[in-house]
Amino acid sequence: MNTLNTLFGEKKAKAKKLVFKSVDEYPEVPLTLGTTLINFTGDWRTFIPIVDESKCVKCYICWKFCPEPAIYIKEDGYVAIDYDYCKGCGICANECPTKAITMVREEK
Amino acid sequence: MIEVRFHGRGGQGAVTAANILAEAAFLEGKYVQAFPFFGVERRGAPVTAFTRIDDKPIRIKTQIYEPDIVVVLDPSLLETVDVTAGLKEGGIVIINTEKSKEEVLEKLKKKPAKLALVDATTIALEVLGLPITNTSILGAVAKATGIVSIDKVEEAIKDTFSGELGEKNAKAAREAFEKTVVYEL
């Protein structure tokens, strides 16, 4: 897979949850208190979006609208979905002007 | 400590006069304080400003109620303002006026120990081309009180206004210094 085009690439694997056990472990200033990369919202999904590249016109509306975000643009210009983070909300399917994305029931 | 009160009208530079007098006394090596009456100022309205001069640091932070010296920049104020209010015994009054000693004394509620008169408006008009009397009147203050020398007054004026403006104002002060008439009463 092409890591360059994913939103998260290797960072996903390296992401660590920040846990502060004592007040001294806290940073002095409340900056960067953690990363949502550790938050695999893919667990929340009951419907899964599937992209049909034959209908896709590369308008990237889905990419813009995904609230997570979980959609990235591949090197060939088509969009793909990082299912570790896609929570199945269906916004992409709703916004896609060509109906290239369909939500399919997912049994886990 | 010497306390001075200036009476003028908004726009005549009474506040600047108080500041320049403080600067001149500072150049003489004194401790000083200068401030306007803490009010809302408008052009033409009666304005008061104050200067304190002492040999030790001035800590007091109140208005001046009993001045040693009163300076009046605008003769018309004598009609409406009691300029000698609170004037200490032995106090000095300095007035910009064309009038005579007798005429002026008639208008003062309290007789000062010393009265100094100068036609600062004419001097200002001749030297500056403007009826702004705040610098010329300081020449009269130097003459009548001796609390600052005319040299330091000129220096303080030049510190406040740069270039030609400073020179002209210093000249006005010097001329007023020479023309001021002082009466011991």
């Binding site: 502060f20 | 200068a34 803490f38």
Partner: protein
């Protein structure tokens, strides 16, 4: 050392320039002060290299200072009264993000009715924002205060903003002699800022304004309090160093004047304490054993100093040029609170004085001294809070 006859506002502007402030953000219209005017003049004359950001409100002025400070710049602003009130939300942001911004506030009474005169309620209403507060007695203290403020604020153990507070008119528009050390000596005292973090470190991007859940928020509050505690030590250190370098000592958070053998003392903040000292000298000539305690730093509050002082006097007349409606004078309230759990319990009376610029004179202080003496002799308060000037 060069001395200048300047107003309190100009003293503040000179200090900002001499502190090599890099960014000044301000709303240049009323209730803005001549501090910003003078700084604009410095910039226009090429005398100071300062980025001046004119904004559309005081709220935005503080926001711009926060942004500038978060990039590592030394940021400064000034305001007064309603302007300070409008900044309120942003004041919390500055301290919460631990940014050493310095601001001069000219103490002006809050409207209505409209007033442009001296009153401390505007700054004291910002008591709980996490800003340090220093009350100046005279123009020299305004100037010195700004220089020290940056050093204290930027100290690596502190990183909190400071408000330097001066009286409207009584300092802001009064000309007085201010001693300004040579720039090289100031630079030595106040080296360039070493920021705790910076937004412009693009190799190590950070998120500012993160969410603090109930699991974490609490600890960050504690950290601010810890920094305030450190500040107590740092303030004394910096004040001492300032004294050694520039011969004006600020190592005491409460300045004591003739308190050693005093039976009772006057306690207060800001410019009115100059007049109080003058009155103390006169009262002593009349046989009163009185002294004065000027609270320089209101935040962090000098608890220990107050305790030591209170232990050795029979009475304290707290002079508040401010009021917390529904309670009492704010300094009085704080001081009583500090002493409650100690063994120091002098008789304390609150005199509400000078609100909205009412002149507070030597003869007023003499009247109060007489009243305090009677109270101490009787061993009982006549009343706890006295609206001293009230026309009855």
């Amino acid at each position: 050392m060069p001395k200048k006859v300047v107003s309190g506002n100009y003293a503040a502007a000179y200090a900002a320039k001499h502190a090599r402030v890099e960014v000044v953000a301000a709303y240049p219209i009323t209730p803005q002060t001549s501090i910003i005017e003078k700084i604009a003049e410095f910039i226009a004359n090429g005398e100071a290299e300062i980025q001046y950001v004119p904004v559309e409100s005081e709220h935005s002025a503080m926001a711009a200072c926060i942004g500038a400070s978060a990039t590592g710049a030394r940021a400064f602003t000034a305001t007064s009264a309603q302007g300070l009130a409008l900044m309120h939300e942003m004041l919390h942001w500055a301290s919460g993000a631990r940014l050493p911004i310095v601001m001069v506030n000219v103490n002006r009474a809050m409207a209505p009715p409209w007033s442009v005169w001296d009153d401390q309620t505007d700054s004291l209403a910002q008591r709980d924002t996490g800003w340090m507060q220093f009350y100046a007695e005279n123009n020299q203290e305004v100037y010195d205060g700004v220089l020290m403020a940056f050093k204290v604020a930027e100290h690596r153990k502190v990183n909190l903003p400071v408000m330097i507070i001066e009286s409207a008119f009584i300092l802001s528009h009064t000309y007085d002699i201010v001693d300004m050390p040579p720039q090289e000596e100031i630079d030595e005292f106040l080296p360039p800022r070493e920021p705790l973090y910076t937004l412009t470190d693009f190799d190590n991007p950070i998120a500012v304004g993160a969410l603090g859940t109930p699991a974490d928020y609490y600890e960050f509050r504690y950290k601010i309090e810890k920094a305030m505690e450190e500040a107590r030590r740092v303030i004394k250190e910096v004040g001492k160093e300032f004294g050694e370098k520039f011969r004006r000592d600020y190592s005491q958070m409460i300045e004591l004047y003739k308190t050693d053998d005093a039976e009772f003392i006057f306690m207060g903040m800001g410019s009115l304490m100059g007049t109080v000292k003058e009155a103390v000298d006169l009262l002593r000539k009349e046989g009163y054993k009185v002294g004065a305690a000027k609270v320089r730093w209101f935040r962090p509050f000098p608890k220990e100093e107050l305790y030591k002082l209170a232990k050795n006097v029979e009475g304290i007349a707290v002079l508040d040029r401010n009021f917390s409606f529904g309670q009492e004078g704010i300094l009085f309230n704080e001081a009583k609170g500090v002493l409650y759990n100690t063994d120091a319990h002098p008789i304390m009376k609150n005199y509400i004085v000078g609100l909205g610029g009412r002149d507070f004179t030597v003869s007023d202080i003499k009247t109060i001294a007489k009243n305090m003496k009677e109270i101490i002799e009787r061993g009982k308060l006549d009343r706890e809070i006295e609206w001293y000037h009230l026309k009855r």
